[in-house]
Amino acid sequence: MIEVLSAGALATVQDLGRTGALNLGVGTSGAMDPLALAAGNILLRNEENAAALEIPLFPFRVRFTHSTVFAVTGADCAPRLDEAPVLPWWAHRADAGQVLSLAVPSTATWRASRVYLCIAGGIDVPSVLGSRSTQLRGAFGGLEGRPLRDGDRLPIAEPPGRAKTGFGITPPGLALPLEVDGLTAVRVLPAAEYDSFTPSSHEALWSEPWKITSQSDRYGYRLAGPELRPQRPMELRSHGIVPGVIQVPHGGQPIIQMRDAQPSGGYPKIGTVIDADLWRLGQAPIGSRIRFVLCSWDEALDASAATRRWLSNARRLVELYCNQGAVR
């Protein structure tokens, strides 16, 4: 069990998301940075999809009621176990009664804003429609379908009993960087209405920085930048959409759909941030600026393959380290 002492705001239980319920109108939810969640689970020798806590606002504090192996991934939030500083992206053991404190992330080491607290065994909330992720709009999944509050107690599944401590991995923010002019960049595939926008809108999309405004959350990122204009107004029939879709409402300021986005919509779509780069977006802080990079289908699939390679390499190194320890 872990007990939340200070919940901050909008912290939720997430796994890699809920698939297969789109026909009920249920979106995917899941970690905004799936790479940090999967890598944290790999460090603990959990299944990659084990549920963890996603923490966007700080300070955040939890108490471990039992001896527990854990890892803090995502942003660099100067974690402390009781008073002692501990490394992020590293497997640690906490003794029963110890308190873990997470502070406002530093972006001096790598640029990220969300933290994942992964626990050996995973957070043991019930799986609803195939996932433990919190569905905020539907108020189910996670812990009672809501963000965490002070005093919440979260059950931990029985760990496989083989998690080890004392090692870590390099965060993808350092291992897989992608920047243009010093700004976080994400790759985009043009979507259905791309050709219906004006040439100057295309020019702006690819060459201007886009600010992530304060009206941005797990549902979507509302961006500020030059106005994007269709050649003529469009009213579309509602259709399925996915996280990463860049909609352009009639006001001309784009909105990127994120993990809690509705699974359908009708605003014109100028493009879609590729699946392989959604973690970069999930970690981009409010107020920061990002750049869009045009890519091809093949490049997008290659990017997904590169991400998978990075994860399987992490898995391989962790297994190597742990088995070596067993022999010694």
């Binding site: 698939t19 539907g138 979507a191 259709h239 399925g240 996915v242 409402p249 909105i255 359908s264």
Partner: protein, 219 residues
Amino acid sequence: MTTDLPQLSLLGTTALLFEAPGETSLTTQCRIWALALEAGRLPGVREAVPGMNNLMIAFAEPPRHRGQIEHRLIELWHALEPLPVAGRCLDLPVVYGGDGGPHMADVVAHTGLSVDDIVAIHSAPTYTVYALGSHPGYCYLGGMDQRIATPRRKVPVLRIPRGAVSIGGSQTGVSASDGPSGWNTIGSTEVAFFDVERTPPALLQPGDCIRFKTIRVLR
């Protein structure tokens, strides 16, 4: 963009969007339902999700070469028989206007019709559930009279309440839970469209229908 051919486009690497040609119609939607059944069984497809005269194909694994599945979808589209409508009908009592219908004035301004006309036109048809989407249990309805069509809002509203009856472009619907929306809310009703404890969790499914019963008009 008038063409007799379906349009295919990408939703990143996660999904493909298939859009039927022509005016929105129930006949086309019956073909979309038929296509969804077949497309959901194609290799590499996780889920085929009907929209309004369109279909999203969500990949379990995106294919390196898209040509094959695109070709197969178009082939199926031309070969398939429409699935017949067979559903039940739900009557929903609606209070139009007032605090529960904050954008009625925008619909009046856009259409040039009176509140009474809008209410009469909106509550006249029997609406068919074309698809579920947007949020858990939400129904996309076909059959709205185009005289009350009103563009989606320039900037989406951050929160409209469960039970909100709204118009977005040429469509209408009822919010199943509180949340953001770009549609114009003209009234409110009370109904539980979704309950995760229920099997199936969604109250209605494609092919069912809804009738709006006016209980009051507030000005």
